[in-house]
């Protein structure tokens, strides 16, 4: 994407962000509340009016947006519905569904539910599920689309720590297996450190920096962007972990 900017009325949410997400790579967006992470993801998903350009390309050259399948999972704000899990995941394949659902579509739904270990929920109503189960179902919906680009906005916010690890593992392995370009918004910096191939840090609608986890998640960045004093340790595998110590006085949260 090049020079992507978003405004809500007169308020700029994003200013001229230029960023590339590569195939087979998990790019994690981090930043404080209101830093523009969701606006950026929505711009790529094609549901946010924006300035600048969002482009897609493969080794043969640029691809038109219409030829790129995007799986987008927004932040979960709940939705009141009597749809079942199967119906919800089927919607991921909305472009090819007819009045009668084909066996191939149903099989694809079952396969993706099984891969996320939630096949037993297939006949349940969405309204009966826990927040974590819902997030897995919407991840399944995005994967059922067999996407080229996977956009996940805080996919683990309602999950316990074990399910967080599981979901992020699945996202990373599917990204590698299928050659997806995956962009994930995460609040949990340690999860970002563990699972990102690359991290992009947003601050006040601008790109603060991008790079490998150890290069971006530094004590200096955490002070500048998040307004916290933190201890950052880099482990044997080259990945950092962050221990927040205290908020820096004089900084106001965004």
């Amino acid at each position: 994407m090049q020079d992507v900017g978003v405004r809500y009325g007169a308020v700029p949410a994003l200013a001229a962000i230029s960023l590339i997400a590569l195939a087979s790579e998990v790019l994690v967006l981090v930043g404080p509340n209101g830093s523009g992470k969701s606006s950026l993801v929505r711009s790529v998903a094609g549901i946010q009016r924006h300035d600048g350009q969002v482009g897609f390309a493969d080794p043969q050259g640029p691809r038109p947006r219409s030829s790129v399948r995007i799986g987008y999972v927004p932040q979960d704000i709940g939705s009141r519905t009597a749809l079942t899990v199967t119906e919800t995941v089927l919607l991921g394949r909305i472009g090819q569904l007819g009045l009668r659902v084909s066996d191939a579509d149903l099989d694809a739904v079952k396969a993706v539910l099984a891969s996320l270990d939630v096949l037993h929920l297939a006949a349940r109503h969405l309204g009966e599920l826990s927040g974590g189960q819902r997030q897995l179902v919407f991840l399944a919906q995005a994967l059922a689309a067999e996407p080229d680009v996977l956009l996940l906005d805080e996919p683990t916010s309602a999950l316990d720590v074990r399910h967080q690890l599981e979901v992020l593992e699945i996202v990373r392995s599917i990204t590698a297996e299928r050659g997806l370009a995956t962009v994930v918004v995460l609040h949990d910096l340690n999860a970002a450190a563990r699972f990102a191939d690359r991290i992009a840090v947003l601050d006040g609608g601008r790109l603060y920096g991008t790079g490998a986890p150890a290069a971006t998640l530094t004590a200096a960045m955490l002070g500048d962007v998040f307004g916290i004093e933190a201890h950052v340790a880099v482990h044997g595998d080259g990945r950092p972990s962050v221990t927040p110590l205290r908020a820096i006085r004089g900084r106001t949260a965004a």
Binding site: I47, Y72, R80, T81, L83, T84, I94, H125, E128, F138
Partner: protein, 325 residues
Amino acid sequence: MVGLVVTALSFVVDVATGPAMLPLRSVALSVVGLSGDATVDAIVWAIRLPVALMALAVGAALGLSGALMQTILNNPLASSYTLGISAGAGFGAALVIVAGPPLWLTEGQAIPLAAMAFAGVACAIVHLVGRLRGATPEMLVLAGIALLFLFQALLSLLQFLASQEALQQIVFWLFGSLQKATWTKISVVGAVVAGCTPFLVRDLWRLTALKLGDERARGLGVEVGGLRLRALVLISVLTGAAVAFVGTIGFIGLVAPHIARILLGEDQRIFLPGAALAGALLLSMASVASKTIIPGTLFPIGIVTALVGVPFFVWLVLGNRRAYW
């Protein structure tokens, strides 16, 4: 399937009952053309069959429009009646009754046309609110409720200004009645319901996606604004056609979708036909009740729908306490 059988049964009972207290055998013979009694034939073919069929057609139109309304606004309280579309149609009809029809139309033609036109106006206003930047389904619901009060106020004004005779006519029209059903009117309502079907079939999965909320539907590639507009056009046509010939009948459009949702879920491929069928059944049962509560007396159908439907609805809701909303 069970719904179809029950609705067919209700239709048969509807044809078999009436103030004329005809024996069941002569009604049955007349229906198959073997009665030989001109009076019986006249009652069955000019009154009972049209009324019974009109109940099915209008009930289906109201059930379908209510279901669409609840889907596109993602709100269980939405229906043509609660969001001012029916009130708009009622105002249109009352306007013709008070001011008289235009010269080139009879009152019988002008009232339905005005009712349909004002149902369209009400839907257009809801649509225009939806086009405002940042409009949410909640804003559309509020716009609908505001319209309800606006048209009710205008209607009260018309009633205040109307002559005694016109006032009586307005009040009777607002009660809702199937008794003026004719084969032509049934054909119009039936054609409208049938005509809307192909347009709905195209959008069934997109409407289902809308049940996950606007953001998720957009994420799935649904052009939400265009979908709402198409649905609103169908709602105005369905409501206009239903209300135009039988007056404002509440409750069906609100409750039929809930019955379909509880029994069938919200996959719109089965939910929408289910709501149409539930609407047809409810109005058919109400038609039977309107003739049998006090034998020999016809109650206005608009009064009876709620009396029949509420107990049935309460039983369903209490039996299925799943959190859908």
